[in-house]
């Protein structure tokens, strides 16, 4: 779980900020951007407790 969290939690952070950048450069539509950000939020809250220091305490 910890290994998975190490990969997915930072990816979720990236998926929070990269879609708006892609939207800025017209490489992604508004709908997919919002959907990706929502998915990233779910993944972040699911996996960050196992990744962040003190997150599971």
């Amino acid at each position: 779980m910890k290994t998975l969290a190490k990969i997915l939690a930072p990816l979720a952070l990236a998926a929070t900020v990269v879609p708006p950048l892609l939207f800025l450069f017209k490489a992604m539509g508004e709908g997919p951007m919002k959907a990706t950000m929502l998915g990233a939020a779910v993944v972040w809250f699911a996996f960050s407790p196992h990744w962040m220091k003190g997150g599971s305490q």
Binding site: L13, P20, M37, A41, F45
Partner: protein, 465 residues
């Protein structure tokens, strides 16, 4: 905005210096400051700058300078005293002012905490209300009264839920807040980037500048002072003694830069862009503004609503909890549950009225004006007392429970400051510094006078150190 840490409970060295083994490394402080200053209220402050007609130059460079001054205050005042004495604000004050004056301080602290938590209830309600559509009338910046029955019910439901969680102890919420912090900051950044995309420009200076002839209620120095003193109670007012006493070195005070330059710089500018877009795209009157919930939902969708709700919730809950502790400190026989319920009820009522959230710039200025001057007494006691021949820890040394010199030194500048605010309509965030300086000077004067009357000058008080 930031939260204060009560030193009221928990057996965490409340009445003794923090021992070596309990001290923490710098990373704990960088993380804590970054998370505590990315709160729900940041969604209000950025747009309020736009509503007040701030220019782009003033915002970009005024915030830079103001936040730098705030960081320097944390580093060279708060962190220096915290690591030298390693006591909570409350215990430090008790040693100087006496127990009964700390009770009075707690009263003001608790009430102001409730209003602050109320503002967060309001901000959260603007997010939770979005799925309810037209049935909820969102308030505008100009509204101070509830907008309707559904709005009242919404705020009461949120306030009740927050109070319930605070009564249960806020460990879970603190944990969610800790986890949410990096994600929330990125959602702020995402909002800013999306707004740049929708506005079709990456030139901040062109986007933020108000149109010609727009009323300007805040200029460069106003923004500098706001950024410096929106947390005046925490740095100048020494509330953060309770946190920084755990720092191994005073240099950890630099960690406040994480909160200032991420939460109070990046997040405020990104939040400001939200209103800029709504003004240009939907013709919203900047004076009336638009609420964070609908703006963030429009920008980044449900993730944004989640962010506003979580940001409000995770900052309101500890605030209600700490307000409860402050009230409990006044009435030691009251249980923490009762005190927290009273604080929660107070904050819920405050949240129903949008006044505090809509006047947040004013409110945080008043918050600093009322509470920060007390910190000047601690600064005088720490840096100047020996040089001026005053006894340090006056109340403890003289066995008194109410130091009249502190009360007068605190009350006189605050009363004058509030009178100037009421009559001259000066922005409240310009007042903490003069009140703080005046409080320190009056404390020196009154203590010398008291010593002279009682014959307790340095020469007759060999125990002075």
């Amino acid at each position: 905005m930031s939260e204060e840490t009560s030193g009221g409970t928990g057996g965490e060295f409340e009445r003794e210096p923090v021992p070596e083994k309990a001290r923490k490394g710098s990373s704990a402080f960088w993380g804590m400051y970054a998370s505590e200053h990315t709160a729900g209220t940041e969604f209000m402050i950025g747009p309020l700058f736009v509503a007040w007609g701030a220019s782009a130059f003033d915002m970009v460079f005024g915030l830079l300078l103001g936040n730098l001054l705030a960081v320097l205050t944390w580093r060279f005042l708060t962190a220096e005293i915290a690591t030298a004495r390693r006591l909570t604000l409350y215990y430090q004050l008790e040693r100087i002012c006496g127990r009964n004056l700390v009770v009075l301080y707690n009263l003001f602290n608790g009430i102001l905490f409730c209003f602050l938590a109320g503002a967060m209830v309001t901000v959260s309600a603007t997010a939770v209300g979005v799925p309810l559509g037209e049935s909820v009338r969102m308030p505008t910046f100009e509204q101070t009264w509830p907008t309707g029955v559904v709005w009242c019910l919404l705020c009461m439901a949120i306030g009740t839920a927050m109070t319930f969680v605070a009564v249960r102890g806020y460990g879970f919420v603190a944990r969610v807040g800790h986890l949410a912090a990096p994600w929330m900051l990125l959602v702020f950044v995402a909002c800013g980037v999306v707004m740049l995309a929708k506005l079709g420009s990456t030139n901040l200076f062109e986007l933020i500048d108000p149109p010609e002839g727009a009323p300007r209620r805040i200029g460069f120095w106003g923004i500098v002072f706001f950024a410096w003193f929106c947390n005046a109670a925490v740095h100048l007012g020494m509330s953060d003694l309770s946190i920084l006493r755990f720092a191994r070195k005073p240099s950890y005070g630099w960690a406040s830069a994480a909160g200032m330059f991420l939460g109070h710089y990046v997040a405020w500018i990104c939040a400001a862009l939200l209103l800029v877009y709504w003004v240009r795209q939907f013709g919203v009157d900047p004076q009336k503004g638009a609420m964070p919930g609908p703006m963030v939902f429009d920008a980044v969708g449900v993730a944004g609503l989640l962010c506003v709700a979580v940001a409000g919730w995770t900052t309101a809950n500890p605030t209600i909890y700490r307000a409860g502790l402050a009230f409990q400190g006044m009435f030691p026989r009251m249980t923490r549950t009762t005190a927290t319920i009273i604080a929660g009820a107070f904050c819920t009522v405050a949240g129903v009225f949008p006044a505090v959230a809509m006047k947040l710039l004013d409110f945080v200025g008043l918050y600093g004006t009322i509470l920060a001057p007390v910190g000047a007494v601690i600064v005088v006691d720490h840096f100047l007392a020996r040089r001026l021949g005053l006894a340090t820890n006056y109340a403890e040394r003289h066995g008194i429970r109410f130091n009249v010199a502190v009360l007068l030194a605190w009350a006189i500048p605050v009363a004058i400051g509030l009178a100037i605010y009421r009559t001259q309509h000066i922005n409240s965030f310009m007042l903490p510094l003069p009140c703080w300086v005046a409080c320190g000077a009056l404390y020196i004067l009154f203590t010398k006078l008291m010593n002279r009357r009682a014959g307790l000058g340095l020469s007759s008080s060999p125990s002075c150190r």
